[in-house]
């Protein structure tokens, strides 16, 4: 393949990977605290896309207003889900928590289908960000550059929050032991809610950028990205923000490069995420950056 084609593929991989990264961070946050695969995350992402769509395409709000409202609503949604569907199950067996998450995911998908119909909605165009400019034969959409930058900034902010702030420490404490955390005077509900708020906000940002690049909004649009991004989080080491970003990028690149080098296998593209996942878990059971847990006996 020509150099040009290869570079083009790298660009494709970078922007796709960064999108995965953004969503993966949300998974990692929630999992880190609740040890819960928040299956609904992908659907929160989907709802965020609809919020934006309605804001701009239906209510004709200016984009910046819409973005703020979207993030607000998405946070509200995420926090509500935790409040209603997860909090009551805190001390229930883990699996019923998980099924609850799956249930919420089902509910959101079905509600969306019911309200917005199965038909795709066209996400408003952002010519400024989407009209490509060409360098030689390379075509680059501005958004493809914006995405990685945003991802990086949010990651750094998050890292600071978790490791350097009191809230971050509280989060890590709540992650292991509610009762003792309470004894320290930590209001665990508050901590958990804020975790969900952050996770959802990230989903919202992810959704907005995603739709700029792939401008169709569907009730089921969250399923596959959701799954892949969770995998990204696991690959990187779940609970670890840097890992989520790394995982996202690895996934994005490997998907695109597989298509690039083995065009015959493009049909297997969705499988590659899982293949990588399994390979990595085999050799690094805690993911790439996940810290090794020695069970003390």
């Amino acid at each position: 393949m020509t150099m040009e084609t290869f570079l083009q593929q790298l660009i494709n991989g970078l922007s796709l990977g960064s999108l995965y990264a953004l969503i993966a961070i949300g998974y990692t946050m929630v999992y880190g605290i609740l040890r819960l695969i928040n299956f609904a995350h992908g659907d929160i992402f989907m709802m965020a896309a609809y919020f934006t769509y309605f804001g701009i395409a239906v209510f004709f709000l200016p984009w910046y207003v819409t973005f703020i409202i979207t993030i607000g609503l998405t946070i509200l949604l995420g926090v509500t889900i935790e409040r209603v569907a997860y909090r009551p199950l805190r001390d229930a067996p883990k699996t019923s928590l998980l099924i609850s998450a799956i249930g919420v995911s089902f509910l959101l998908e079905n509600v969306a289908t019911y309200l917005f119909s199965g038909k795709p909605q066209a996400f408003p165009e952002f010519p400024l960000l989407t009209t490509p400019f060409f360098i030689g034969g390379l075509s680059i959409q501005p958004v493809s550059i914006v995405i990685p930058i945003v991802a990086f900034i949010l990651m750094s902010a998050l890292l600071f929050m978790i490791n350097k702030t009191k809230l971050g420490m509280a989060m890590r404490a709540v992650a292991v032991d509610y009762d003792t955390a309470k004894l320290m005077g930590i209001k665990i509900n508050g901590v958990i809610s804020s975790t969900f708020a952050i996770g959802s906000a990230l989903a919202a940002v992810g959704a907005i950028l995603w739709c700029m690049k792939y401008p169709s909004v569907l009730p089921l649009m969250g399923v596959v990205p959701g799954l892949k991004c969770f995998i990204a989080a696991v690959i990187g080491g779940i609970g670890n923000v840097k890992g989520a970003v790394l995982g996202g990028l690895i996934l994005g690149f490997s998907e695109v490069l597989m298509v690039a080098f083995f065009p015959a296998l493009t049909g297997y593209r969705d499988a590659i995420a899982f293949v990588i996942l399994i390979i990595i878990l085999l050799f690094l059971p805690n993911g790439l950056l996940g810290k090794k847990q020695v069970e003390k006996v």
Binding site: Y31, R35, I37, V84, A85, P88, L89, A92, P93, K94, T95, S96, L98, I99, S100, I102, G103, V104, F106, L107, N110, V111, T113, Y114, S117, G118, V223, L227, F230, I231, V234, I238, G267, Y268, D270, A271, A273, F274, V275, L277, I278, L281, L282, P285, E295, V297
Partner: protein, 367 residues
């Protein structure tokens, strides 16, 4: 000595109950098989298949505590095995009209039973390869890895046209409509599961669920035991898949999307992780429930008159009910309890009244 006699006694007792139970049940099935229309028949068959697959899943997830989400994949294997080997040779050319069937398969046709068992075994083989890496992973990782594998299986089936006919799927599979196939199999599998769970192996499974390190220290080989449970589960699931294919008469990869697994997960949680009877009850509840709520979708065509009733409402309501159950019946209908045999027999007749009666559920299936 004396001990031995007691347990023998208990064992005979168990059998006596089984006998009564079986008679009642068989008569029930017999009557149903004669009287129900093909729509109801289809539903009942589906219930039985769901019982099989859910039980298999509960064995691995509920009893062994290994959170596996591979059901859809194993079903697919079973289903395709049956499809590939039972479709009449003459009609294959017509079905594989885009790309002819691979020569080494094209002319093999097997009796349904053989194909069915072959399907079970096939998924056992795959399960072994999946298990050897994955069962070393813990908790959610296992979940996501098995889920991944079931996706891979689906994607492979989509792309290997000359064997699976890819996206076109395989149609005109000789169908089974009699309830005996599904319920016969389900019955065998239920009994096998009960006997297994209340044996030393069953306790080994549970001990792993409770505390892996302690289990290992007590001489329970983690990998071997997990694998045993996983393979048995895979076998049952494969069988379930085979019946599924024979029931629908057609298979294609889309049917085995990973969300299919969620149905079974829902069932075992609703029924109670680690409760056999719970799983059985839940299988019926869920399968029939989904159907019962169908009316919600109906007047859709006239949305103008009744905007609330639109297609999709049923699934909204259904997933809503699911949430209610998960939130308010954490332990599911049965928790880890079992209905005793005779009680279960009644239950089969009166699935509808179950919810109100579940309090009265008593202890010990065959303990």
């Amino acid at each position: 000595m004396n001990e031995t006699q007691n347990s023998l006694g208990a064992y005979l007792k168990l059998h006596w109950k089984t006998a009564v139970f079986l008679v009642v049940l068989l008569i029930g099935i017999g009557l149903a098989d004669i009287f129900v229309d093909s729509y109801m028949r289809r539903l009942l068959n589906l219930c039985a298949i769901y019982v099989i697959v859910s039980l298999a899943m509960n064995l691995v997830n509920g009893f062994t505590g290994q959170f596996s989400l591979g059901q859809a994949g194993f079903m697919a294997i079973g289903a395709y095995t049956v499809a590939i080997f039972t479709v009449p040779v003459e009609s294959r050319a017509a079905i594989f009209y885009l790309e002819p069937m691979a020569p080494f398969l094209a002319n093999i046709q097997l009796p349904f039973v053989v194909a069915l068992i072959l399907g079970g075994l096939a998924s056992v083989v795959v399960a072994f390869f999946i298990g050897s890496p994955c069962l070393r992973l813990r908790g959610d990782y296992l979940a996501i890895a098995t889920l991944g594998f079931s996706e891979i299986i689906r994607i492979v089936f989509t792309n290997t046209q000359s064997i699976t006919n890819g996206a076109l799927g395989i149609k005109s599979i000789p169908t089974i409509s009699s309830l005996w196939w599904t319920y016969g199999t389900a019955l065998l599998i239920i009994i096998a599961t009960i006997l297994l769970v209340y044996s030393s192996y069953g306790r080994a499974f549970k001990s792993i669920r409770e505390d892996e390190i302690a289990a290992e220290a007590m001489g329970v080989g983690l990998f071997k035991t997990k694998m045993t449970s996983f393979l048995i589960g895979a076998f049952f699931t494969g069988i379930g898949g085979g019946l599924f294919a024979a029931l629908l008469g057609t298979v294609d990869p889309k049917q085995f999307y990973f969300t299919l697994t969620y149905n079974f997960l829902l069932i075992i949680v609703l029924g109670g992780m680690g409760s056999i009877s719970g799983t059985i009850i839940a299988s019926f509840l869920v399968t029939l429930g989904q159907e019962a709520l169908r009316f919600l979708d109906e007047p859709m065509a006239f949305g103008l008159d009744l905007p609330i009733f639109r297609p999709g409402l049923r699934m909204v309501v259904f997933s809503f009910l699911l949430m209610i159950i998960v939130l308010f019946y954490r332990k599911g209908l049965m928790g880890t309890n079992e209905l005793t045999w005779d009680f279960m027999a009644q239950k089969f007749q009166s699935i509808k009244k179950k919810l109100s009666r579940k309090k009265t559920s008593t202890e010990g299936g065959g303990k």
